[in-house]
């Protein structure tokens, strides 16, 4: 829609009416007067009608992406990851701008093809890595760069909680639908932010708890970040089975800066003071709720579509995390789980 008229609402199609669409995207979309949902698309018609009913939006229900031609200006793609590339490409070729769920695709090659089609067709392709919009991100990068904690020694990233997600289907554990387990699904958010804020990761090594074609529920990834020309060791731990710290910690000579996922408007500075350990909370935004990053993401997408400018999360930038994940999977080694071996009664 190069001739997008800013006076009329953007006609939005929702492609994939699963849990993430209903819980995260639609509440902010429905509340925004600049967009109007004109179609719900899902291969399972029950999902589409349930989503329409729940959101109170009166829009056309379609089963095939092809039916969206001429009916929408832009689309949210929230189908299982394996279908991101074919669906987004089909939409862009139909002249439709795309906000695509993360991870951008299941392989770097697929993601590159998407980026290429976006360039060819002049479409906007944004990736829904909504943690990029956390207010504390910029503060973290700036304070590190300003030397607030001195020379950086290491970066520690952890995100773990029991998977507790009202899944609308079994696509999480189906190789026909997705590309990996916790590293692919949860890890991509944290990896993306670290790479975006601090540069590329080298010397990647990875261990996880999966077997054969299984999906890992625990993964540990290590590497070196290239920060201001210096190698800084980084470690990333992700779990679907137990609680981990859920933050990015940058450990420096004079303190640690921590950005906790649970509180995106705060950055915490840990430092040893004369009195003992000190914690200083840096307020990076006055208000932030669980929908705020989805709202910011939608704002950016609407503006990018209207102004024909690049979105904050471009396909090219989102591909960096996927490339790390692909390398990590290729190098994965088994994680120690000593309680797993069978112990038999001696004969």
């Amino acid at each position: 829609m190069t001739g997008f008229d800013s006076n009329r609402p953007l006609r939005l199609g929702i492609v994939g009416c699963g849990a993430i669409t209903r819980a995260a995207h639609l509440p902010v979309i429905v509340a925004d007067p600049r967009v109007r949902v004109t179609a719900f698309c899902d291969r399972d018609r029950r999902n589409a009608s349930l989503t329409a009913r729940e959101s109170g939006v009166d829009a056309e229900l379609v089963a095939d992406v092809g039916e969206l031609a001429g009916k929408v200006d832009a689309a949210l793609v929230a189908v299982p990851p394996r279908f991101h590339a074919p669906v987004a490409i089909e939409l862009m070729r139909m002249g439709i701008d795309v906000l695509c769920e993360k991870p951008i695709a299941i392989t770097v090659a697929d993601g590159e093809r998407m980026a290429e089609v976006a360039r060819e067709t002049g479409r906007i392709l944004a990736v829904a890595l909504m943690m990029r919009f956390f207010p504390h991100n910029r503060w973290l990068a700036d304070l590190v760069e300003d030397g607030e904690i001195g020379a950086v020694r290491e970066v520690l990233v952890e995100d773990g909680a029991p998977l507790d997600w009202a899944m609308a289907s079994n696509s999480y554990f189906d190789r026909k639908a997705t590309g990996g387990g916790v590293l692919f699904d949860t890890g991509v958010h944290l990896l993306d932010r670290v790479l975006w804020l601090f540069g590329d990761l080298h010397d990647i090594a990875c261990e996880d708890d999966a077997f054969g074609e299984g999906f890992e529920s625990n993964a540990r990834l290590t590497g070196n970040l290239d920060m201001g020309g210096r190698k800084v060791p980084a470690s990333f731990e992700f779990s679907w089975s137990h609680r981990l710290r859920r933050s990015i910690r940058v450990v420096g000579e004079r303190g640690t800066l921590e950005a906790a996922t649970s509180n995106p408007k705060i950055l915490t500075l840990h430092r040893m003071a004369r009195q003992g350990p000190m914690e200083m909370q840096i307020v990076c935004a006055s208000h932030w709720d669980s929908h705020s990053h989805y709202r910011a993401q939608l704002d950016d997408f609407i503006e990018a579509v209207g102004e024909r400018r690049a979105p904050i999360v471009t396909a090219e930038s989102a591909l960096k995390a996927l490339a790390v994940i692909e390398t990590a999977y290729a190098r994965r080694r088994p994680m120690a789980q000593p309680w797993l071996a069978r112990r038999q009664v001696p004969a």
Partner: protein, 385 residues
């Protein structure tokens, strides 16, 4: 028998997940895992095994899941009220699908919360209805299976495990959470008998029940070999947590007094009162402890009078909702133990495993010390200790 393919129901549960791990990694037998809620399937999804969506309440899903299976391990326990119907669905689906053997995992709870014999055996402990939801549901499910076996519809083996512990056990993690908060909680000095069996040993019994033809038609109590008390069990796992801990010993009269206080203050304690009345594994045991018995009966009647049957059902399903035990944050001060815990830890009988040893040719491979050590390995992995 040599199995072609096994269907595991209840595969995302504590025993089911461990059985799937052993089937995939050690026994190397072909199987399919029936999954009702995929959000709980992270542990078995690691294995790359076949996961199939289904539910014991959904007959069509069972028919599909059973295709090509000649054996079933039934570890599912949905809600107490539906147990009989759901087990019947499974048995009928198995019969239609030509399944040869069904290994049904029941529970020692079918013998009630407080058997009279000091040593409980399959022969000396009756199965009755105890007017207690969990025990009765387990007994009803077992009866459906035994009946099908007697009719010759299929080969059945019933296993009745005792207190099953190991990685992910909801008997272990609350102890560790308490210890991290600085205390150890015991009931009546922890002198109750803890019939602890390590989860892998239960899985080995399941494997034997699938394998051994002379097990058909039998029911087996599956217990470990170590005679320990709840004090031993609790202090062992609490001891894995560093730092000082205070022991809170909840005397039975303290528990009774607490529940008594709950009674009159309807507004404030309505939830607690209802929870008491809705508790799944409860009342009969408390009848054997005179002081508590009176309090509980009174509370149950009181709640019964105040709430309509429909509302009671709604509340029951809400209050009994099972959640992943590992991760529930615990408040910093010791609570009065739950009804279920009191029942468990006031138990006085040792459960024999001789029949299983003789007929299944099975023996627990883990002493309590060894089982606890392997559980500790997992607790470290899960960052709980």
């Amino acid at each position: 028998m040599r199995t072609a393919r096994i269907l595991v129901t209840g595969a995302t549960g504590f025993i089911g997940s461990r059985l799937c791990e052993l089937l995939s990694l050690e026994y190397r037998l072909p199987y399919r895992a029936l999954v009702r809620d995929f959000a709980r399937a992270t542990r078995i999804a690691r294995l790359g095994a076949e996961l199939v969506a289904g539910d014991l309440a959904d007959v069509a899903s069972l028919a599909q899941a059973l295709e090509g299976c000649d054996a079933v391990v039934n570890l599912a326990h949905g809600d107490d009220r539906g147990a009989r119907k759901q087990t019947r669905n499974l048995v009928e689906a198995c019969t239609r699908a030509g399944v040869r053997r069904l290994v049904h995992i029941s529970s020692m709870a079918v013998h009630g919360p407080a058997p009279a014999a000091p040593v409980l055996t399959e022969a000396n402990a009756p199965i009755r209805r105890w007017r207690e939801a969990y025990s009765d549901a387990k007994a009803a499910g077992e009866a459906v299976v035994v009946d099908a076996g007697r009719r010759g519809a299929l080969e059945t083996v019933v296993l009745r495990p005792t207190i099953v512990y190991g990685p992910y056990s909801f008997f272990v993690t609350p102890i560790v959470h308490d210890a991290r908060a600085g205390y150890i909680s015991l009931i009546d000095g922890g002198r109750g008998v803890c019939n602890a069996v390590y989860v892998d040993d239960v899985c080995e019994a399941i494997l034997a029940a699938l394998d051994r033809d002379d097990a058909v038609g039998e029911a087996f109590l599956v217990n470990g070999d170590c005679r320990i008390t709840w004090r031993d069990f609790i202090t062992t796992f609490a001891g894995l947590v560093e730092g000082d801990k205070r022991i809170h010993d909840h005397a039975l009269d303290e528990i009774a007094a607490h529940w008594k206080r709950q009674r009159p203050r309807l507004r404030d304690n309505f939830g607690a009162t209802l929870r008491l009345a809705a508790s799944p594994e409860f009342h009969a045991q408390l009848g054997t402890i005179p002081l508590l018995g009176r309090t509980i009966r009174g509370t149950k009647e009181l709640a019964g009078r105040l709430v309509s049957p429909e509302r009671k059902l709604a509340l029951k399903s809400r209050l009994q909702r099972r959640s992943i035990a590992v991760h529930r944050p615990r408040p910093p001060t010791p609570l009065i133990p739950s009804e279920g815990r009191v029942v468990r830890e006031a138990y006085r009988s040792w459960v024999a495993n001789d029949h299983a040893k003789a007929r299944l040719r099975w023996r627990p491979a883990h002493s309590f010390e060894e089982g606890a050590k392997r559980t500790a390995d997992w607790l470290r992995f899960a960052r709980l200790i």
